[in-house]
Symmetry: C2
Subunit: 342 residues, 2 copies
Amino acid sequence: MAQGVTTIKDIARQLNVATSTVSRALSGHRSIGLGMRLKVQQLAQEMSYHPNRNAIAFKQRKTGIIGLLVPNLSEHFFSEAISAVENQAMQHQYQVLIGQSHDEEERERRIIAAMTQQRVDGLIVSLAKHTLHYDHFQVLQHYQIPVVFFDRVPNIPDVHKVHFNMESGTKQAIRFLLDRGHRRIALLNGPECMPSTVERTQVYRDCLSQQRIKMDMGLVASTDLTRATTFHAMEMLLAQKPRPTAVVTINDYVALDVIEYIKQHGLVLNKDLTVISYANLPITNYLESPPLASVEQFPYRQGEAAAELLMDLVLNKTGNPVPHQQVMIEGQLVVHGKQFWL
Amino acid sequence: MAQGVTTIKDIARQLNVATSTVSRALSGHRSIGLGMRLKVQQLAQEMSYHPNRNAIAFKQRKTGIIGLLVPNLSEHFFSEAISAVENQAMQHQYQVLIGQSHDEEERERRIIAAMTQQRVDGLIVSLAKHTLHYDHFQVLQHYQIPVVFFDRVPNIPDVHKVHFNMESGTKQAIRFLLDRGHRRIALLNGPECMPSTVERTQVYRDCLSQQRIKMDMGLVASTDLTRATTFHAMEMLLAQKPRPTAVVTINDYVALDVIEYIKQHGLVLNKDLTVISYANLPITNYLESPPLASVEQFPYRQGEAAAELLMDLVLNKTGNPVPHQQVMIEGQLVVHGKQFWL
DNA sequence: CTGTTAGCGCGTTCAT
DNA sequence: ATGAACGCGCTAACAG
């Protein structure tokens, strides 16, 4: 027993029975006598037998593993989602293999290849921020590995996806500002290659035109989420005449940079310039200078929904192809505590 | 090609060679002719062949996977560490399987069993907060799966562990307070079953006695990290005569609760009661009411060190047993921005 | 340089 | 109610 790890063969030999008997006894096959079943189970326990799931996976062509590919494991938004995915997977006796692309397409490609070779039963993906071509996802189709995109989803049809409802979320933010009298509302958006960026601008445009406000493209800027480009964009936005009185930023990280910029330039936050962002940090309640409000995006729910959908696909025993699903998670505008300037 | 997934057998058949030739050609075995190698590699590409790592793992008894078990995937401290582990693993062509115990010993047990059955090549573990018995780790030894404990480590010898240097970290905090004249310093510690709790108290005691200050056990309290018990502990601490002028809390979550308690009771933070904590949130720089200082614990470095150590063990080809390592990560006291009351 | 063969651990026929 | 035999995809002897 010390020369290696216990297998059903070892148990069979000890008991002078066939391996198939052991196999059946362990999996509770009804054709095995009670006495035999008990003997086998007890010996298995004693020899601390743990079935080799690897061998089983190999034979059954089911690994019991799903993959999870996100840009960055340490970002709060994603780590919440990951937690949800793990919880959901565990309920189905599944395990989760992780990978982070660091927003590099090349790394994304390598991880997808690795997941494929590992033969994961399914994959949840949030795209790298500049991913434009989806050809590296072809392999997954070839290997019949179902994919659920989540949060950062591709703008192509015929894929399963779970994402934030940009339309209702953005409407809440813009209308909130309009209701408070703002007419010069700036939009500090993300990289233009991201579908969500395009949609955010679209909704912004619609909200304004509904109020018969003509859209000023000088009030729309992009950042690649780095501080430098955010500062640059702010410079541009604040140079517009008349100056915007509010700005909607793509996320909390950018909002923090914007707030920093505002302070550096002697402006008063939420008085001279009101800031609203899309929440992806857990901190807004404790901030010294928070945005006036944030659109909560419920990362846990998103991860949960993605995992539920994926598990449905993975466990789908009918073999019938499942129509492509698109789940939208509703955002919710949260107004933060201290509102000195209202 | 549509009836399934490409295997070396398919490639071999197409080329009228043996599977072993294909296998060798693909793995760059030198005994294969250049022409053959190229032909094989090209065809593999065309058939979008991806080696079945599952089958390889099965044969080689090496999965190329390491497990990572932490209490909670979404806590900032752990998600930083996870990111480090994934980065480190990827450099070695390894993948990471995750599990969260939610601080429940039973769940911890189940995940360890699952990891064992998956035959991970190694495991990084941060213990559930009340785990006292380590018998569920025995299996790993039986299966020769190396384990590196990290952050929440067991207080037994003969294990590999990476953790924060409690002694130097705590000394920095206490001495900082002593230097500023505090003599009634409270300690709001964690559950007493955690080794780090015991050590923290020990260091606290030593620092005080070095200054010839007699230790008052009324100034030491425990919390199980929930708000309720934290409040309860605070009540007790503030009832002491004379009242403490400073409190060292086990982490930022508890510190936030303490700060909340202070406000509710009409005290002025860092004036009536100075708060220092051990950092595990990324937010202290942005807080409206931050602790006066935090002992930074560098979760990324801890995860990195744990992964490096584990990879050493996993890749250790000598077969010689490696002596048990204990890596300590030095903390660093960080004093926060606004210090009105100094 | 390349082919043949065996076997990793397991579930699953097909026998008995 | 149990046993014998097979094969999943791949690598590694061993043979030429």
